[in-house]
Amino acid sequence: MPTPTGQLATLGGVETLLNKTLTAPTITASDWTTATHAHTSDATGGAVSAGALTRAGGNTTEATTTSTTIVSLLTVASLNIPSLTPILGIASLKKTAGAAASASVGLTVNATVPREPVAWSSTANEADWGYVKYTIPPHDVTYKGGGCIEVSGTVGGLASIRGATYADYLPNAATTSFILNALVGNASVTMGADELHVYVLAVS
């Protein structure tokens, strides 16, 4: 036993230990709540490299409309995504009752409209909710489009996949803005869209 020059630690006591090196320790507790482990650096649990999916931008403020022609409802600007980088987008949708009419959703990339709005809801006089998912593939002067708008909604309270629609003729340029377009079939119906998030997929 070394000659004591400070305080001694006890096996069951709650004590703060300084300057100790543990060799091959076994940690049996599963609660790491109090450990600083943000994984942003070696000092915080080890840095974790970026995943395959990165959020490039979004719009988290709900917008609503009664427009029966296309309106730019949710905009994500200040993007700079190379045209050969795959992009995913997703947003939540809702429609109120008020008339027997559907609600539709579309897309504008930069100043190009690759797809006019497609119906995502039922045509019944009922409140519906659903989502839209965008898939924008790598594209250039040769591979012009093939993007996809997948929409889903509810009918009588039951969710159903409405289907997917091609988005043609994507601009041969970096994506700088991403706009969710919308319209309703009757002005007595209100369509809402919220939580539009745009992601890029890793390419290396």
Binding site: G58, N59, T60, T61, E62, A63, T64, T65, T66, S67, T68, T69, I70, V71, S72, L73, L74, T75, A77, S78, T96, G98, T108, N110, A111, T112, V113, E116, K144, G145, D168, S177, I179, N181, L183, A187, S188, V189, T190, G192, E195, H197
Partner: protein, 191 residues
């Protein structure tokens, strides 16, 4: 006449997908529209009217069957299309596809509709008034009433939440002739 306003936002008490406190317009577009049409007058709901950055347009929809080359998706001219269709179907299908294409053309609508009034409370960071030129390219306002659209205007660092309604011509005339009527509209849209 397109009337543009700032949107009153209030916290929802939840956290948005971006991790920030979520805010939302006090009233959805349908409720705002009911108030506007009861107190001020009719909004334009015609499915052939769309207000865009370039102005109010009267739309014409035309659907036609076009023939495209299967190799690159390009549209063929009428002469080649007729020649292609004269081939036996398996040969046509191997080289071409047919697709229904709807084209939308828009002519600037009448002057009564093609007017814009921006709320005096909506100004750019340098204090100058907002105009349609400050909106992104290809921006569409549609018709009826729209609420809570966040737009990054030209020369602005942060997006601003906007609402707008498209008033029918006679209603717009009445609003422009009576400051009190416009103020009532502004309160419905901004407060």
């Amino acid at each position: 006449m397109l009337c543009i306003f700032k949107t009153p936002l209030e916290p929802t008490g939840t956290i948005g997908g971006d991790g920030l406190a979520k805010v939302r317009a006090k009233r959805p577009a349908g409720d705002v529209q009911l108030g506007v049409e009861a107190a001020i007058g009719k909004c334009h709901h015609g499915p052939d009217i769309q207000f865009r950055k370039e102005g109010a347009k009267r739309l014409t929809l035309a659907t036609a069957i076009v023939v495209k080359r299967r190799a690159d998706g390009s549209k063929v001219n009428d002469t080649e299309a007729a020649s292609a269709k004269a081939q036996p179907k398996p040969f046509f299908d191997a080289l071409y596809t047919e697709e229904a294409v709807t084209t939308v053309t828009g002519e600037i609508a009448d002057a009564a509709l093609n007017r814009v009034k921006v709320s005096p409370s909506l100004v750019k960071p340098n204090g100058s008034p907002v105009t349609l030129a400050d909106f992104p390219e290809n921006f569409a306002f549609g018709n009826g009433t729209t609420v809570g659209v966040k737009v990054r205007l030209k020369d602005s660092a942060e997006p601003v939440a906007l609402s707008w309604c498209l008033l029918e011509g006679p209603v717009a005339d009445a609003v422009l002739a009576d400051a009190g009527r416009y103020e009532a509209l502004r309160q419905l849209m901004e407060e």
